[in-house]
Amino acid sequence: MIQIDQLRVQFGKFTAVDGLSLEIAPGQVFGFLGPNGAGKTTTVRVLTGGLRPTSGTVQIGGHSIPNQIDKVKGLCGFVPDTEDHYEELSGRENLRIFASLYRLPKKRVDEALARLELAEAAGLAVSRYSKGMRKKLLIAREILHRPKVLFCDEPTANLDAHSTGVVRHLLRELRDEGTTVFLTTHNMTEVEEICDRVAILSRGRLVDSDTPSAFMTRHAERKVRVERDVDGEQVRTLFDLEEPESRAELSSLIRDESDLRVHSLDFRFEDVFRKLTGETYQ
């Protein structure tokens, strides 16, 4: 559905994206991760036709970007990380503007509002919406025309637990309906929960791309923490089970000591991210 080949974007001497190549199949939630300044937003801007690449090619649905952007416009939706509504208009009016630009029937507006649980507030001016409601309205607007590709930048930021659940459920539903969801997020739990594939970007370069479970298998670190009392004081030691020496040391400790407490440490996707980018996520 999306093909990126040797994409390079430069702003003067600064290289924002450096030789990025990706192929994203239709009907999957694709997580696009990276620390701040890694080049995620720049890539999305290129994909949505907002920025001309310095070199490389980008195709969506077989159409080249930005040369054939008019053919791609109807195929894509873009949920930005900032609100861009007409605040003085109601939620329903905002959606109707976009629906009429796509020549959609009015019932699509009500369907989208209901899907995001905004039907009750549809008549209110957006200026009276909470941050979470505004975010949901953005998503409702971008799914009106049932896009083949939906770019989402932090779709669950500022949402409460319930609304987060609603949005994640919606993204899964869209995937099941055949939509490719290109998700940019810093929420690693979300990545583990809904992404089918993930690409990690660092300083403009692709670090790795795989399924979340494959990432976990390949990069997981099995560690245990042992607690014991030594001369009345509690001592904690960390053992890496991937290391033979560490395993042998733990084995002898278990054999010799009678009063031990052993805790296995969970390895999360966040740790994979840290390990691969060498940075903490923000």
């Binding site: 907002g50 861009d84 509504h85 007409y86 503007i97 009429s100 630009l101 796509y102």
Partner: protein, 387 residues
């Protein structure tokens, strides 16, 4: 460049909905119309007063009018004036060797056609036209002066070449032909209904087609709504077209209300509508340029204010310096203002004369400059607004 009517219509509905919720802007436009109505009602009061005085001293207001000219005056002009004299006018053409104010009866309106002269203060040649009127009210000149200006426009094909002064006949004649324009002008003399009307129309057109456009577009741009719109099938040119429909439409509709209030007879004048469309198009283009260069809401407001100041300063300097005159001749406002006041003045201009005036140099310059500015603004804005 694709232009799909359904997309333009959707964008127009969006802008209209935003406009309807913009209380302060609507209130301001309503206030301009109200001022027009109040001015018009004051004008009617003056007319009533004029009628009353006409009944008491009919010869002072309805006596003969004289057109006095020198022997070497342009014969074609005089012939046309004679040919175009309405039947209801008691008009006499008087050829003289030199002007002598003491020779006129005290109950006539006089239009003296002086020889073209070089005016030091404006650095250009103009033809002095000196009006003399009976009594104290210069309004009695209006019927004959309007007719005179319309026929002269037909003859010369351009305006702005006259240096008009007026003086009551009863006062001693001390016309000093070398007086500067400011010395000749008093606010009471120049503050006519049509002048106020011109000011109102220009303000409305500037506010609706430029100020409001800049403010609303900058808001869309700052919020990111413009980017969201351009990610839909709508393209930049459809976006511009919708803005033109809404903002120019608003300017023209509000202007029509003001014209209907102050000078209803000119509502059907092609010259007036052509001028208003040309001037509104010019202001729309200025607004588009400002909106495309400013990325947030504060900057465009400053730029709009700066534009007003710059144009005002340019015209002030143009009174004194030749180079600034050339610059001011390249602004559409120069022709727009002149044509607006002229078309408001010429209430009884025939359709033929009105269409003929649209072939004049000032009208052509207005259309050329406004149209050119529109093309530049659209081309520049297409790349900048998308960024």
């Amino acid at each position: 460049m694709r232009m799909r009517p359904y997309i333009v219509a959707a964008l127009v509905r969006k802008d209209f909905a935003r406009l309807v919720r913009n209380g302060p802007a609507l209130m301001l436009l309503g206030m301009f119309v109200l001022v027009g109505i109040l001015v018009a009602s004051s004008g009617l009061a003056n007319d009533t007063k004029q009628s009353d005085s006409a009944e008491s001293t009919p010869e002072s207001t309805r006596g003969a009018s004289w057109i006095v000219y020198l022997k070497n005056e342009d014969p074609d002009w005089i012939r046309l004036l004679k040919r175009r004299t309405p039947r209801e006018f008691d008009l006499r053409f008087v050829e003289v060797a030199q002007f002598d104010a003491d020779a006129y009866p005290t109950n006539v309106c006089v239009i003296e056609l002086h020889e073209p002269r070089f005016f030091d203060d404006r650095q250009q040649v103009r033809r002095p036209i000196h009006y003399r009127y009976p009594g104290a009210d210069p309004e009695v000149l209006w019927p004959v002066s309007r007719w005179f200006l319309s026929v002269s426009l037909e003859h010369f094909g351009k305006m702005g070449q006259f240096f008009e002064t007026s003086q009551p006949l009863t006062q001693p004649t001390q016309a000093n032909t070398t007086r500067t324009a400011l010395e000749n002008v008093s606010i009471a003399d120049i503050l006519s209904v049509t002048l106020i009307g011109t000011a109102l129309l220009t303000t409305i057109q500037f506010f609706s087609a430029c100020g409001l456009l800049v403010s609303l577009t900058a808001q869309e741009r700052e919020r990111g709504a413009l980017r969201a719109l351009l990610l839909t099938p709508a393209n930049y040119f459809e976006f511009i077209a919708s803005k033109a429909v809404v903002h120019m439409g608003l300017a023209l509709a509000t202007s029509a209300f003001v014209v209907a209030a102050i000078q209803p007879a000119t509502l059907g004048s092609p010259l007036l509508w052509g001028t208003m469309i040309g001037q509104t198009c010019g202001y729309f283009s200025v607004g588009l340029l400002i909106a495309s260069f400013a990325k947030n809401q504060a900057a465009p407001n400053l730029l709009t204010f700066g534009y007003l100041l710059a144009i005002g300063t340019l015209y002030l300097l143009a009174y004194r310096f030749q180079s600034f005159q050339i610059l001011s001749a390249l602004t559409f406002e120069r022709y727009g203002l002149l044509l607006t006041i002229t078309s408001l003045n010429l209430a009884d201009l025939s359709l033929e004369s009105s269409l003929s005036a649209m072939r004049s140099l000032p009208f052509r310059m207005l259309i050329l400059l406004s149209g050119g500015l529109f093309l530049i603004a659209t081309a520049l804005g297409s790349s900048r607004l998308r960024a």
